[in-house]
Symmetry: D2
Subunit: 359 residues, 4 copies
């Protein structure tokens, strides 16, 4: 596969050996419209990529470098940042100043208000000084199904968290059209262990999380505020909801089971399915399943797809919306490349996986 070599398509991946970074390298290696020209990492700086990651071979074996913004700016037109919360904010202003287009996978630019970020990510806010109010306000939330035209014009895209992607794809079609109550929304979310990252932690050991399911961050998980922020925007009302994540003994995948109440209890599951189909009819990565077919995370593993199914309890007008995504692709790196495609003027879906190898 021949790479285009002209300037304008050079990509830097910062945080390349974490799970998010690995997906980005993998996706862009096969993407003929872009060329990886810089790989950034702290722990592995100075080593050759192929030595560190023997299972993703780069023909043009780059050396992993420290995350110096000047070097990145020389080498790349676009920079993906797959860094811990707070760390990204120390790099982004420099990159933007140097005219690099940035796609940030951290939470640093997900809130329009930096003060809100400082309140939700208070630990990080103490550690990393920030006053980039302007940047926060101008950053675009990288959920292309809702913000494609803004992403096209943006130089700073802030990619959603993995849970918000699945939750918002489920909620927004109904909230925007006023079909469900704003009050009493519940998101019961289930995630594989890769959402916890590659940095070793006791509770993510196979010995610990295999043969186990447990809730965590009950009430007050940081993604709650992110989901509420976007939900409120689309509902044009202040939304306050429950979000409970659970750790599932599998590597990849997120399932969100969303519970709400229909404003018109006469709507059927078929009606609601039609609503979703109409809403997402041009969206390549979103499939709405027929009533009674419930999605498995396995069906979307290693793809950039989301599958959504909806069911209604006729007795009481309660609605259940189920959505599955691969947390590392549609929930993270795949969606980021989808944004890159849009920013560079391509169709959003080029060179992104839509089908996997089953089982």
């Amino acid at each position: 596969m021949a790479f285009a070599n002209s300037q304008g398509n050079r990509v830097a991946i910062i945080g390349a050996t974490g799970y998010g970074g690995l997906q980005l390298v993998r996706l862009l290696t096969d993407h003929p419209k872009f060329k990886i020209t810089f790989l950034g990492g702290e722990r592995t700086a100075g080593k050759k990529w192929n030595e560190v990651i023997p299972f993703i071979n780069l023909s043009d074996d780059l050396t992993i470098e420290p995350c110096n913004p000047e070097r990145i700016s020389q080498e790349a037109d676009y920079a993906f940042l797959s860094l811990p919360n707070g760390v990204a904010s120390q790099l982004v202003p420099h990159l933007i100043k140097n005219d690099i287009k940035v796609i940030d996978l951290s939470a640093d630019y997900r809130f329009k208000s930096l003060d809100m970020w400082k309140s939700v990510y208070s630990t990080e806010a103490e550690k990393y000084a920030r006053d980039d109010y302007q940047l926060c306000n101008s950053a675009i939330y990288g959920l292309p199904e809702f913000f494609a035209s803004e992403i096209f014009k943006s130089n700073l895209v802030s990619c959603p968290g993995c849970f918000p992607t699945a939750s918002l794809l489920s909620l927004i079609p109904f909230l925007r059209q006023g079909l469900i109550d704003n009050d009493g929304l519940i998101i019961d979310a289930k995630s594989g262990s890769s959402g916890g990252g590659r940095n070793p932690k006791e509770h993510l050991l196979l010995s610990e999380c295999s043969e186990s399911i447990m809730p965590y961050g009950v009430i007050g998980h940081r993604h709650t505020r992110e989901i509420e922020e976007l939900s409120s925007f689309f509902a044009d009302a202040n939304i306050n909801l429950q979000f409970t994540p659970h750790l599932v003994p599998m590597v990849r995948g997120i399932l969100t089971t969303v519970y709400g109440r229909l404003r018109d209890p006469g709507l059927t599951a078929e009606d609601c399915t039609t609503v979703l189909q109409a809403f997402f009819k041009d969206k390549t990565f979103i499939d709405v399943l027929p009533v009674g077919t419930y999605p498995s995370t396995k069906w979307v593993k290693n793809t950039n797809k989301a599958l959504i199914s909806v069911q209604v309890d006729k007795r009481n007008g309660r609605i259940v919306i189920m959505c599955v995504i691969d947390n590392l692709l549609k929930g993270q790196a795949g969606q980021a490349v989808q944004c890159l495609n849009i920013m560079a003027g391509y169709d959003e879906d080029i060179y992104l996986p839509k089908t996997n190898f089953y089982p």
Copy 2:
């Protein structure tokens, strides 16, 4: 360990080689107060137990027999039935007539009203003719934390489904005391694959359900009616709730995450924890966790325990109650032996496991 040999303590296990049966054999093998005298099974009838199940050795190696009620009545004082729904109802009236005390693990006697059973289990109702209205009405629901004294006097105990046990342990303390709204209750349940039984089915293959989580039976799962029946009884009101089970890639365990709304939004998570602790203070198998400690199914695996944790969203008075059990023990066979202990006049907890080997 010497077995008592006098009559009165002889136990038959029907459906002994399924997962429920295997737990019963295992539990009663180590129980010095009872003696397994009859093992019933269809597919394996005629074979020696130790040959069929090389990993649970019976010193007194019984031959597995067909489920003949006369033979069972000759050999046993108590009969556990671990049979498909509908099949149990064809045996129970004979056994009761012969003065055998029956502990049934199927759904056949879980509703006071046989007509309700016929409506919920309509497929089975078509296949198996039943008019044992009286027996249905007199059967006791085998949840000892709520019905111990009735179980003690009963000759027919109908053990709860695995999901209802965890759900009801979470809901009843709050419903009975009127602390939560009867309306809008949501149970998001997660189960390991052993809940689907030992009979091979495609969706239970490791190749299929490993690396996957998916909902099933959304709206209308049969356990919904069972949970509503008991909830309504304790709330003294007609309760209509949402119940959504999910299949998790693990062998054993159930987690229910229950969502409700506090009537007094001023109650804190600590208050609610105190309510639970008071409610279950004499119940050996129920542990209420401190606020902020969330239970893993792994903590109760291979035990008859339930762990419950509660959390409250101060912003809106929403309550989240999390409960874990081992679906095959506290959710099935362990609870059945707990009932047996009570029926025979022993302490409910004797010779039932309270701690496991971790991890």
Copy 3:
């Protein structure tokens, strides 16, 4: 992706909804040089593909048909048979007579001698009458790293079993050059559950094989004879070896750990690695790892690659050769498409996956 439409590139997949068939459909859907024109299946005949398999969408939604050789011959130029052993032999002679090129994934044509097949597959031989001695003798063993030029000229390619592929890639380089003893070879093989197929069997349930490893078919597994046949051919001597498969709680992947004795005990692990590198230097799908890097099945999952590593015990000249493949791709369907590429005159590696999404 535009499909070529001229005759000569039409492909039939028989047994399309099993695990082998699913991989073939997935691979050929993305392959611009071929077009799937026939999908055969017994259980699902008459149904539309997209309805049966909601997670692999065919734009040209075919109806699954019974396996009628005349229909297949009308519709296709190439036929993949992913059928139970014995069944394939009832179809192949008809297809060959009709000038269809056949790639068979069963064991039916893996032995040059039909009598050998009848002795190894005696159960199937009793059930299915065969006298296609000529076809057996002319069929080519579909291991392209060794038989590419024969495959190019063949109209009947018999693909290896999953275990033989990994075993032979490890053994042949050393046997052919006489570097290891022919005697005393041991293959300790480990396979994921998908090797047992999609047809539900008790021992393949997640409840049974999760948290478990066990040997099976110890001494006398049918793949032993297949490995010996090919090993003997390349060693030009009669080879008699040990092969022990084990079932591992994972979905995809095979690891073979092969033990032998170097004829020259002075050879080092580095020397042996050089031997392998030289042997496979033009083979796109085979990577030889540096000494001390041991392969994980996870590194090749969802790819058509094989990774090989070799180690030597200096104390005694013992050699250990480790090889990993994806049992459903390089061990089955991917290798079959590799053969198809060769038969049709293309580079063997076009449109076959070489990198996966990790983890």
Copy 4:
């Protein structure tokens, strides 16, 4: 359960919150002949046990203490050391001097020769100064099936590694009686992730080791020398063998598949099974399976049992011996308690689990 309170039965567990320690606490909590009087740990020192480990409740909630030998000597009669290699050797001499009986789970006293230890555990030998030659020489290897009478008289028992236990139970019956060649022995071992301990490491994350099998420590794993040492002792000859461990995606369990050559190729699998049965006839924890029944690690999970099966290739006199144990019980803590029982003059099997809950 009433604890005996007199001196002589007080037990200290050092390293109590690691996986080995957790098993010891669990086993001894239920053991009426002993009383846990001291819990040692570094990271958790100063905390109450029940707070740190909410899922194993100690009625007598001890505070975890630093590993001070004087404190241990005051509080206990027996001390279990579940510490990293090298660390144990810094404590043991003090404890022995104070007349504490020690059961050490590290490798520090597994070799009669301290110099051998220094050569095999060279990294640890550099870090921890040792000259306890005498203690090494007098320590008894804690494999009770072979050394019960020595263990009874010993004040320092050095428990085997998990791999050596399964390997030696397979090899010794044949080596001691000269039934197999001393040369060419191969042990292909498979272990669950808990063998890697509770300390978080990247390769033990569920995200990494799930859906994967890989070899590690190929040629030169430290357990090789330990197995050779004991094998040589029983064969009365210098034995040099291959040992290759593999990491399997499961929590608990070890399977060793041992390959050898019968001296008398006329022996059948039945003959060899008889040899094993005779050899282990009084050993409660060892079950020899009938020919053709192959053991799963799942069958012994959470028990102190070992299951052994043997098969022979009639064509060439090759023998395959398969053994499964729970790596944390018979492979570690269970075996240690078995030793404790013996040291204290009880039957070796009291209060140790022989059956599990399946599946």
